[in-house]
Symmetry: C2
Subunit: 341 residues, 2 copies
């Protein structure tokens, strides 16, 4: 059993704890929240061994093996760094950090302390993505026409959007997820999903560009990312302010691979040249985080396994490449600076 | 009856002639082709009064009222100019010309000779588009959240694409529709459709950009257009080298207007905030050109009607704005120069 402490008490942490129980590989040792009442309620509902409003209590608890971090984006780095320096493995919700400098600092600290750090890119760790990757690689190996590229689309109207708009009207700060100083916004929140897929499938682009429509506080609400490769391109549309039903498409010869739900890889269809459609991948997990937690536990439980160390290196390389691309995209769109906490 | 002569003998001219017969407003007087045999065959099938391989025969025939031009794109301008100078109305397939200088020259010649010139933007002239426009205008009048923009998508795998790729392999010239010197390519062939809709609904953008993936001969095969407005944006994906099933979307508050088939405006759905979908517009004409031919005949037959002269001015303004935008987009993507014929 891997003993876990959690940071954050929103729905994603609840989903994480439920997935932990499903895998039977993790035990919920402790729950941290800045508010002791919230921590107490949360610990009771999910039967944690204890709760605390002092981060050091979990960081210096020798029985805690791993810290799960699902705080606001701008706090990920400092909390993850403290945790690995205290000798804990960490699973950090995406985006893991907000710059490559932070990423390298976190990696060095993790290496020095002999612990693993994982970016919780849920879709990338899921079996549907593994199958998609095999499908795409197979198709690209057999391609007879030049590969032109792909379109990834994700427009998810945020439940906080109306609250954000009202705050802007009143000149208030609004929710963290729409606060660029807190590393909120569409790129930070949604960009990770299509970028992970693009970079893992096609590698690092030669150049990148982000056209963003910004709100009053400078947050990116709606935009397109352009990833330019030597002889193809990947276009990404993303927004937290609109409902979009657009799927994502990868074009191979006269066939089209259609991805439904780029954040979860819910279903993958193949459309052949005649327009015939076949569903090739469609697995719906009981809990979307199940696969990633099994994968991470495998690495944690077998630190000396050569194959797994290669797998872990791959994950890290993708995480680094996504972090680097996000940093370039933020600059490209002239997004506001992030305050670190 | 409006007496028509046609230039071009491909499927689009056949569709045009069939639509003429359906409207009962046009009579097929003459058929022109550079090949006299092709002209003869065509004239027989469609019962033209006569056929010719000499353009002047139709241009100097006093009984010809109107010339329909569906030759390769690079020939539209010179043929249209000759026709209006000969005192004929012209209907020119999109794109009507390849630069604003040409557009103005054509307009001046048409005005001087007292004739009308029409760009055959079939979707823009159809009743489904008129209804879509009313729907969008109505929704934008009632909007309560900032309008963020729209995504238009069109990926139509050309029947000539394989032929083009084979020609590139052999170092040959390949088909006109993939020859940038002949004003072929994705922007010229498909760009008109989403641009007409974007510019007619939202006006001229403040700035434009075209990211194009080019083939060996410099032709644009795959790309994205970015139209930047003061406080929203329109993104366009277009390709002649892939099959895409992506629809087009316009976002108003937490609702989404979904356009199926931006080249024909086949169907328009409205998705409300709860994901409920309603089809609002879905009319399938017997012949897609029927509406445009009725519209054009109305203007031709009532040259002194004040209302119709306003309508005609609107069409011209949109045609000019699209021509201008296409010229800027060609420059933005550094597409090859067009040879004029």
């Amino acid at each position: 059993m891997i003993n876990v402490a959690t940071i954050g008490t929103s729905w994603i942490t609840e989903q994480f704890i439920k997935a932990c129980k499903l895998t039977d590989l993790y035990h919920l040792k402790a729950v941290y929240s800045r508010s002791v009442d919230t921590a107490k309620d949360f610990a009771q509902v999910y039967q944690a061994d204890y709760y605390t409003d002092a981060l050091n209590n979990i960081l210096f608890d020798p029985e805690v093996d791993l810290v799960y971090i699902a705080s606001p984006n701008a706090m990920h780095f400092s909390q993850a760094l403290r945790a690995v320096k205290a000798g804990k493995h960490v699973i950090v919700e995406k985006p893991i950090v907000t710059s490559i400098a932070q990423w390298h600092e976190l990696e060095e600290a993790a290496n020095r302390n002999g612990v693993f750090f994982f970016e919780a890119a849920v879709h990338y760790q899921n079996r549907n993505y593994r199958r998609l990757k095999e499908l795409v690689k197979g198709k690209l190996d057999e391609i007879s026409q030049p590969f032109l590229g792909a379109n990834f689309n994700i427009g998810q109207y945020s439940s906080r959007y109306v609250q954000y708009l009202a705050a802007m009207e009143k000149g208030e700060k609004g929710p963290n997820v729409f606060n660029p100083a807190m590393a909120g916004g569409t790129l930070m929140d949604l960009g990770v999903y299509p970028l992970y897929v693009a970079i893992d499938l096609f590698g690092l682009p030669q150049s990148v560009r982000y056209n963003a429509q910004k709100g009053k506080n400078g947050v990116d609400l709606f935009g397109t990312i352009h990833l330019k490769y030597a002889d193809f391109m990947v276009n990404i549309f993303l927004s937290k302010g609109v409902h979009s039903q657009l799927t994502s498409e990868i074009y191979v010869d006269d066939e089209t691979i259609v991805i439904h739900g780029i954040t979860r890889i819910d279903r993958v269809d193949l459309i052949d040249a005649s327009g015939q459609e076949a569903t090739l991948i469609a697995y719906t997990p009981e809990n979307p985080m199940y696969d990633e937690l099994v994968n991470f536990a495998e690495v944690i439980n077998h630190p000396d396994d050569t194959h797994l160390s290669y797998v872990y290196e791959d994950w890290k390389q993708t995480s680094l490449a996504v972090t680097q691309t996000m940093e370039l995209l933020r600059k490209s769109a002239k997004l506001p600076e992030i305050d670190e906490f």
